[in-house]
């Protein structure tokens, strides 16, 4: 259960100088850990480190979290720092933003981001714009976290992948980790960041296990990670879509010997355009994978940038894989038809590289 690695965390190109000391090559012991535990650890460590950090949301305290991400935190930090709220997303999102204006560092949990839509004005108007509208007098060091992505047959209103809606808005940061390791390192950075960071998780991943260093570490926002190296095609993905992409890459390798490179964006704003471009320059092909609605999605943004920045390197158009352009249905076979799975991603990659058997 323990591995030992050297962490590949580069020192350059990060916007957060104050954190750079942490990005060093270190030998680390890596116990296996669930995604939700990694998040829990990140919050606990940061709350221990900084008394201004607190967690607030529906069922985060006495219930131990609707998805058990905050398990044990009430016992550890007490009811002033781990706070249950009424079902008032607009209210407690606003409370968080106000507290951040006053200098605290709230972590606001949305049970899912589908529910954040009733408080949407707070998160797309107040959170990202008050700093700007005040001419920089206030900073808003707040993290909104919770589930983004279709759950298990929850039907249309409950199955939002909110990635694109949020990434659209300047003033926010949007982070979408795909592994427990990234989740912990990025959440710690998000909590220390002085801007509103939206941290998007996925129910289907909470139980996933992965290696997480025992020593403290943080990861920079805005740095993509090559989760699988390859030369035949670039697949740009993030969050749960990244796992689908990796599975598709593996399958294509086993079946057809294709070497697919999977670029895990990890954060959508800041977006690591350079890493995408570099990879596409190398492979000449590009496929994007996302679980949200396709129209005006994040895939569209990536496709638009790739063709703009390296049209001449492209040997085919950038292909987008996304959920079908429909509300999420309840029925399981229908849902599985709508959300992109390994098969659909693999087919898109084959199509992108003109692969014929």
């Amino acid at each position: 259960m323990y591995g030992a690695i050297f962490m590949r965390i580069p020192l350059d190109r990060t916007g957060r100088d104050s954190l750079q000391d942490d990005y060093v090559l270190r030998r680390m012991f890596m116990p296996m850990m669930q995604f939700r535990e990694a998040l829990n650890q990140a919050m606990c460590e940061e709350m221990q480190r900084d008394a201004d950090v607190f967690l607030i949301g529906e069922e985060v305290a006495e219930y131990d979290g609707a998805y058990k991400v905050s398990q044990g935190m009430l016992a550890k930090f007490g009811p002033t720092r781990v706070v249950d709220t009424p079902i008032s997303e607009c209210g407690f999102a606003g409370l968080g933003i106000g507290a951040a204006m006053a200098g605290l560092r709230p972590i606001v949990e949305f049970m899912t981001f589908s529910f954040s839509l009733v408080g949407f004005d707070q998160i797309v108007n107040n959170a990202p714009k008050i700093r700007h509208m005040s001419g920089g007098q206030f900073k808003i060091p707040i993290v909104f976290r919770g589930i983004s992505g279709p759950g298990q047959q929850l039907a249309a209103t409950h199955s939002w992948t909110i990635d694109a809606l949020l990434t659209h808005v300047p003033g926010l940061k949007v982070v979408v980790p795909s592994t427990p390791h990234d989740a912990k390192g990025l959440l710690k950075t998000a909590i220390r960041d002085d801007d509103p960071v939206f941290f998007l998780e996925n129910e289907a991943m909470y139980g996933n296990r992965g290696e997480v260093p025992e020593q403290e570490y943080v990861l920079p926002l805005g740095r993509a990670d090559i989760k699988r190296a390859g030369t035949d095609c670039t697949v740009v993905a993030w969050g749960h879509g990244c796992l689908t992409a990796l599975a598709a890459a593996e399958r294509l390798n086993q079946l057809h010997g294709l070497a697919v490179e999977v670029v895990d964006l990890r954060s959508l704003r800041p977006l690591d355009e350079e890493s995408i471009i570099q990879s596409v320059r190398k492979t000449g092909y590009c496929v994007t994978v996302e679980e949200g609605y396709p129209t005006c999605g994040v895939g569209a943004e990536i496709a638009a940038r790739v063709q703009e920045k390296c049209l001449d390197d492209l040997d085919n158009a950038v292909l987008r894989v996304a959920s079908l352009d429909v509300p999420m249905p309840y029925s399981k076979p229908l849902l599985n038809h709508v959300v992109p799975g390994v098969e659909r991603v693999a087919e898109a990659i084959k199509q992108a590289v003109y692969f014929r058997v």
């Binding site: 529906e58 069922e59 006495e62 219930y63 131990d64 609707a66 249950d84 709220t85 009424p86 079902i87 008032s88 607009c90 209210g91 589908s114 529910f115 839509l117 009733v118 298990q152 047959q153 929850l154 039907a155 249309a156 209103t157 409950h158 079908l324 352009d325 429909v326 509300p327 249905p329 309840y330 029925s331 399981k332 076979p333 229908l334 038809h337 709508v338």
Partner: protein, 346 residues
């Protein structure tokens, strides 16, 4: 709240006390409540067998609310509720076969497999749905009430929601609109003491919910025992009459309790077994059963027969639903637009 309003409400309560349900009504309610419970026990079983997906919020313990109140609703009245909607659909008269089929995600389901447990709909019976975003259907209810008034109809809206939903902004805006425009809406807050794992005392600054709408929106509030089906009927009937009389909206705080977890995946650490047991002593079905026995309208034999009939009805509907085919995959493009275009054209 004004003096006139107060007087009207006193009249309403007095009226409600004079309403006497007939033996056949009582028997029918007993049957309906039993049907709802058996239906849901069957749901629970299928859910545990992972044959049903999504979230599944059981109504067990609250049956008297839907059955008693909807007994006061006319076919032309409009019904709308939240995601805990099995009881309301059944009490409104929707057959349980399309409900089971919906839970199984079949195209024969009451929402053609698109909605699931939280989104039962039945246009024919003016059942405007289960809605899963907490509080978000309450403004819709004002629209239904608006349509009634716009067309000068006699109908009334029955709008159900939980204690937890009352802390949503949507509730506030809707109640103010209903009060301002004097819309014919009976608002029924099913106070089952919890919004998920949070007791109403930890969510609402004021726990006497019936008071929250009088001074704030000019909508008189009354409480009613939601574990008592005839009481629910009487109050709902009087409340509906109040609204039909052009007096505007009314608010009922319905005191009830859910026996099961919030949804099927709730360990329920937030309450004690004793608390649950205490409420179960007032079980709405047991209570009505006792009354019917006392009145000589039911005996053990009849009860057995009825339970068996319902069991059979439930099993048959369930079986039939389970056998139904899944929707065609191309169905994902259907029923999104009424005037479809491009890929949405079927």
């Amino acid at each position: 709240m004004g003096k006139t309003k107060e007087r009207q409400v006193t009249t309403m309560v007095e009226q409600s006390q004079r309403i006497e349900p007939s033996p056949s009504q009582l028997l029918d309610w007993y049957r309906q409540m039993t049907l709802i419970r058996q239906f849901e026990l069957r749901c629970a079983q299928s859910y545990q067998q992972q044959k049903i997906g999504g979230f599944c919020h059981l109504y067990i313990g609250q049956e008297a609310v839907a059955v008693g109140s909807l007994a006061a609703a006319r076919p032309s009245d409009y019904i709308i509720t939240a995601y805990r909607d099995h009881g309301h659909a059944i009490a409104r008269g929707t057959d349980i076969y399309p409900l089971f089929a919906e839970l199984y995600g079949k195209s024969t389901g009451c929402s053609h497999g698109k909605g699931g447990s939280m989104h039962f709909f039945d246009r024919e019976r003016n059942f405007f749905g289960g809605h899963a975003i907490v509080g978000a259907h309450i403004p819709l209810a004002t629209g239904l009430g608006w349509a009634i008034k716009y067309r000068r109809q006699e109908s009334v809206v029955f709008c159900y929601f939980g204690d937890g939903a009352m802390n949503q902004g949507a509730f506030h805006e809707a109640l103010n609109l209903a009060g301002l425009f004097k819309l014919p809406i009976v608002f029924l807050a099913e106070n089952n003491c919890y919004g998920m794992g949070t007791h109403v005392q930890r969510a609402s600054a004021v726990t006497d919910l019936k008071l929250r709408t009088g001074d704030a929106y000019g909508i008189p509030g009354k409480d009613v025992d939601g574990m008592d089906c005839p009481a629910m009927y009487r109050m709902s009937q009087a409340a509906a009459e109040y609204c039909r009389g052009g007096n505007g909206s009314i608010f009922l705080e319905v005191k009830t309790y859910r026996y099961r977890g919030h949804s099927m995946s709730d360990p329920q650490k937030y309450r004690t077994k004793e608390e649950l047991a205490q409420y179960q002593r007032y079980d709405p079905i047991g209570r009505l059963e006792k009354q019917l026995k006392d009145q000589g309208l039911l005996d053990e034999k009849k009860i057995d027969a009825l339970h068996q009939a319902i069991h059979k009805q439930v099993e048959e509907a369930h079986h039939r639903a389970e056998q139904d085919p899944d929707p065609e995959l191309d169905d994902v493009w259907r029923d999104i637009y009424a005037n479809p275009f491009g890929p949405y054209r079927s």
